[in-house]
């Protein structure tokens, strides 16, 4: 929701605080300011309005919030409509009674429509709409001001007959911008007996207002939000009106907003009112009364907030507050559809008191409560620690897999609506992911990686009986070492292979260099006390950045270094690691040769560089080992 700062003053003329501060404050009280920009000499604040605050999709709502925050008066624009003397009733019918909450409508004749005045054109354009003409732009202006969408129907095209109905006769509809929509039955529409005129959230070309328009029926309505939302989804069409109408709007805002619209039309387009006001409202809303005890505020906040502040805030928000013995009865304002419980009122008071006044140095008590950690959580952590100590790197992979990776089509679980259609199923084993990872490491020229993943696998024994289990899969290029490591893991868990005989835990793949172990069963036979000992791994040890995003292949180059004296290889490795710097991936001394004739020791280095193209890696390599002179 974009807010032009200067237009806020229509409701809060005493607002004198600079726009950046206003934006920051709005963020803190719940309306996140994405940006504050100066455009065409106007400051525009772009706010992210949450789903439960439909009232704040308007200047009216945001101004009310600021009036409460800054304790300044909130005023509504004065409206002076001429008395309505006409007896003509508009021939409007509502057949979709359960989806229409309220409608107000009025006909104006002898209008003189023009291109919009500069201020209006700028307002509309800053809200990222195209300026059409004065009548259309004023209807949009009122929508932004009060948050209630409205329509104008050119009676020369639409006739006086308007019917709010669920579509049952039209299959095509052309929107105001010329988009052709295929209509479904049961869409909520405004039609006349012969034409589809408008959707609930989008006007149609059949009754569009242009500069020749002289007579218009204006209507403002609030609908069943679920219906508008469903229609909007069905047609895959989102409009400013739809964004508002699919939320809980207050129909009580219609009379002031509609009156203001009519007054502006009369002011800018002249003309006369030529019908009675049509006012449809079958709603009988039960007023919400909340019993409110101010003591509860501090119980929630953890700090004391004065009663006076609490009561003043509620009143400023528009609540009616009545004392009742030692507590209060609070009636929220009609436009605050989100206030229903005492917790809602408590939030209102705390947010205007400001969260930054609540201390942040008093965490929850560390008194332990009964441990309900499931065995599998301890087991996975222990296993990761053991595997890391054995030199394995942890990888994580996609749980969704390609059709070709499905192992058992009978038990596979498929997704229904994933937009990543190439990955339609949940994995049944982690090993295909590890094989993919190995191939990728091979492409990147990473030598002999040994790695593991602990994650979930998924299957259904019967249709709809969805199962997920934790699984460990690991890979080592040397099968003997892999078997040794598995024995070590079992030994660290104080298990032996005899204990695994009755459970089909281990699967081997690809010449046994990939192994997968289902962990859920294992978790139940491992001594949990022993797992806790294995969990002494300190995450701090791994705090240092060791993981890297490779952007290309590793480049490996050799270099010979002739030295007069023997030097410890580790010392040499450390020295040259430092010289190479951040792009060093791996450094190895592959050979040491004592040339007795020349009395030299020749050290052969093999160095791998990462995130450098091969030419740059070569340049660095030549420089570090001082090989340029040998060319």
């Amino acid at each position: 929701m974009k807010i032009i700062y200067s237009h806020l003053q229509k409701f809060i003329p005493q607002l004198k605080i600079d726009p950046k501060t206003v934006a920051d404050n709005l963020s803190l009280i719940g309306h996140f300011a994405d940006s504050v920009e100066k455009i065409d000499n106007q400051v525009v604040i772009d706010l992210e309005i949450r789903q439960n605050r439909a009232d704040c999709l308007s200047y009216y709502g945001i101004a009310k919030e600021l009036a409460t925050l800054y304790q300044i008066p909130f005023v509504t624009p004065s409206v002076n409509l001429p008395p309505i003397t006409k007896k003509d009733k508009l021939p409007i019918k509502v057949t979709a009674k359960s989806d229409v909450k309220r409608i107000m409508a009025l006909r104006l004749s002898n209008l003189k429509n023009t291109p919009s005045p500069t201020w209006l054109k700028q307002f509309i354009q800053l809200h990222q709409l195209n300026s059409i003409n004065t009548i259309v732009d004023l209807t949009n202006y009122i929508m932004f001001l009060y948050g209630i969408p409205n329509h104008a129907f050119d009676t020369a095209k639409s006739t006086n007959h308007l019917i709010w109905e669920l579509n049952h006769q039209f299959d095509r509809f052309t929107t105001l911008d010329g988009t052709k929509l295929q209509l479904h039955p049961s869409l909520l529409m405004v039609n006349n007996p012969k034409k589809a005129l408008s959707l609930s959230f989008l006007g149609g070309q059949a009754c569009a207002i242009n500069l020749d328009t002289t007579e218009v029926i204006f209507e403002m309505a609030v609908y069943n939000r679920s219906k508008v939302r469903a229609d909007s989804h069905q047609l895959k069409t989102i409009t400013e009106a739809g964004i508002r109408l699919d939320k809980e709007l207050s129909h009580h805002l219609i009379p002031p907003a509609f009156s203001y619209l009519i007054s502006l039309i009369l002011k800018h387009c002249h003309g006369q009112i030529t019908s009675q006001t049509y006012n449809y409202c079958l709603l009988k809303e039960k007023p919400i009364i909340i019993n409110f005890d101010p003591k509860q505020i501090s119980q929630y906040a953890g700090v004391s907030i004065p009663n006076d502040f609490a009561l003043d805030t509620l009143k400023q928000l528009g609540c009616i507050v009545n004392k009742r013995h030692k507590t209060y009865q609070v009636k929220p304002p009609h436009f605050r559809r989100d206030l229903n419980l005492i917790e809602d009122l408590i939030e209102e008071i705390i947010r205007f008191w400001r969260y930054d006044k609540i201390p942040t140095d008093q965490p929850i008590s560390d008194q332990p409560l009964p441990d309900i950690t499931p065995p599998i959580a301890n087991l996975t952590r222990s296993l990761k620690n053991i595997l890391v100590s054995l030199g394995y790197d942890e990888v994580r992979s996609w749980p969704l897999i390609k059709e070709s990776q499905i192992i058992n089509p009978k038990t596979v679980i498929r997704t229904q609506n994933s937009i990543n259609s190439k990955y339609p199923a949940l994995r049944q084993s982690i090993i295909p992911s590890l094989i993919n990872q190995k191939q990728q490491y091979h492409r990147l020229k990473l030598e002999n990686p040994q790695f593991f993943e602990i994650g979930k696998i998924y299957y259904q024994e019967k249709v709809g009986d969805y199962q997920e289990k934790y699984s460990l899969a690991l890979h080592h290029p040397n099968v003997t070492q892999l078997q040794t490591d598995i024995d070590t893991i079992l030994s660290q868990l104080q298990l032996n292979s005899n204990q695994l005989v009755d459970i089909p835990l281990i699967q081997k793949h690809r010449q046994n260099i990939y192994v997968e172990i289902i962990l859920d069963s294992l978790a139940n036979i491992v001594d949990q006390k022993h797992l806790h000992q294995n969990n002494n791994f300190s995450a701090k040890k791994q705090k240092r950045t060791t993981a890297y995003e490779l952007t290309g292949q590793i480049t490996t180059l050799d270099a010979n270094l002739n030295l007069k004296n023997k030097i410890n290889p580790t010392t040499l490795i450390r020295k040259y690691s430092k010289k190479i710097g951040q792009h060093l991936w791996r450094i190895v001394i592959t050979d040491i040769y004592h040339d007795t004739a020349k009395k030299l020791y020749r050290y052969t280095f093999r160095v791998s560089y990462f995130n450098l193209n091969s030419a740059t890696a070569k340049t660095l390599h030549l420089k570090v080992f001082n090989l340029n002179n040998l060319k």
Partner: protein
């Protein structure tokens, strides 16, 4: 394939598999693939095969040769690069010197364990829940009824629409916890969640979240903020600046958004924080009384807090990862010798 060739291949592969010594492997290579080796001998004998079977036999023999070559290569690689003693050996003997190979945890695991450790110290249990979830636990029990606009925030991947889906948030674990555990309790849980998003450099359908829930008799926002601050101090150090602002989440009331002063620009505005000076880290609040009621917990007697945060963006920033796909396989790698 010919039965004899099959047996031959099987026997050689078994020998190779059982050998982890470079010299022995070389002997096997000479015996099998060498100039006077068994495979070459069989190639020479190919003329004795009938012309009808000769072509197939030749192809099979080539396959056996390739398989043995690959097996020897695979078995040889680690043997060459295993670390040796760093002391200088004899004059001409080849040795390989490097720092010892160590393993690494995934950056997401490191983050999860750092936070787990903090919560374990605070007396929390570590919990877990299913990823394939029902609508009831993912939405209904969290105060998000079917036509609630908040559902739009979370485009779901369905297994069987509309009842079964991949969880969109770790709050579903909270809903299960509330339904089964008896208060008081303090529980934390990392977990994977799913959204129906197209995968590209910036978006993924899998995310990682961390959530903590506590239900006691007198919990309040001060405890919540203190706990969250402690968590960020653990992750970032004592100078971290956290702010709390009102934010709507259906499952909590009051609800707050948790922002961290940008760790790159320290509040002055940069590309990482989109010039805001703050980075949104997660959401939190006092558990909504309706959520407690739906779980059979009396909200007049018990009060709880909950908070959740995404781990991916933070981890990407910390590890200088530019492409979110890197977190799940692909190009994430670890320097082999760096502890």
């Amino acid at each position: 394939m010919d039965q004899k060739l099959q047996t031959l291949q099987k026997n050689w592969l078994k020998k190779i598999r059982l050998t982890n010594n470079a010299d022995q492997l070389e002997q096997i290579r000479i015996q099998s693939l060498g100039r006077k080796g068994k495979i070459n001998q069989l190639f020479q004998d190919i003329k004795k095969i009938s012309p009808q079977k000769r072509k197939q036999y030749g192809q099979d023999l080539n396959l056996v040769k390739t398989t043995i070559e690959k097996a020897i290569h695979t078995q040889t690689q680690p043997a060459k690069t295993h670390p040796s003693s760093p002391s200088l050996k004899s004059k001409t003997k080849k040795s390989t010197f490097t720092l010892p190979k160590i393993g690494h945890l995934h950056p997401i695991s490191i983050t999860e364990y750092m936070i787990n450790d903090l919560f374990l110290k605070l007396g929390f249990s570590i919990y877990d829940g299913p990823e394939i979830e029902t609508d009831e636990y993912c939405f209904e029990r969290l105060n998000v009824p079917k036509d609630h606009p908040a559902r739009e925030l979370q485009d779901s991947i369905y297994i069987r629409e509309p009842e079964t889906l991949l969880r969109t948030q770790t709050s579903s674990v909270e809903a299960r916890l509330l339904a089964t555990a008896k208060p008081p309790f303090k529980v934390a849980f990392p977990g994977r969640v799913y959204r129906n998003e197209k995968v590209n450099k910036s978006n993924h359908f899998v995310f990682h979240q961390y959530q903590a829930v506590a239900v006691t008799k007198n919990i309040n926002l001060k405890n919540l903020f203190g706990t969250i601050n402690l968590m960020f101090e653990t992750l970032y150090g004592p100078d971290v600046t956290v702010r709390y602002r009102t934010k709507y989440y259906p499952e909590v009331e009051p609800g707050v958004g948790v922002d961290l002063q940008c760790f790159s620009c320290h509040g002055s505005g940069c590309s990482l924080c989109k010039d805001a000076g703050w980075i949104e880290m997660g959401g939190a609040g006092i558990i909504h009384p309706i959520v407690l009621k739906k779980a059979g917990i009396n909200p007049k007697k018990w009060r709880g807090f909950a908070f959740g945060m995404g781990l991916d963006r933070w981890t990407m920033a910390k590890y200088n990862i530019k492409d979110i796909r890197t977190l799940l396989g692909g190009n994430l790698a670890y320097k082999p010798n760096q502890p």
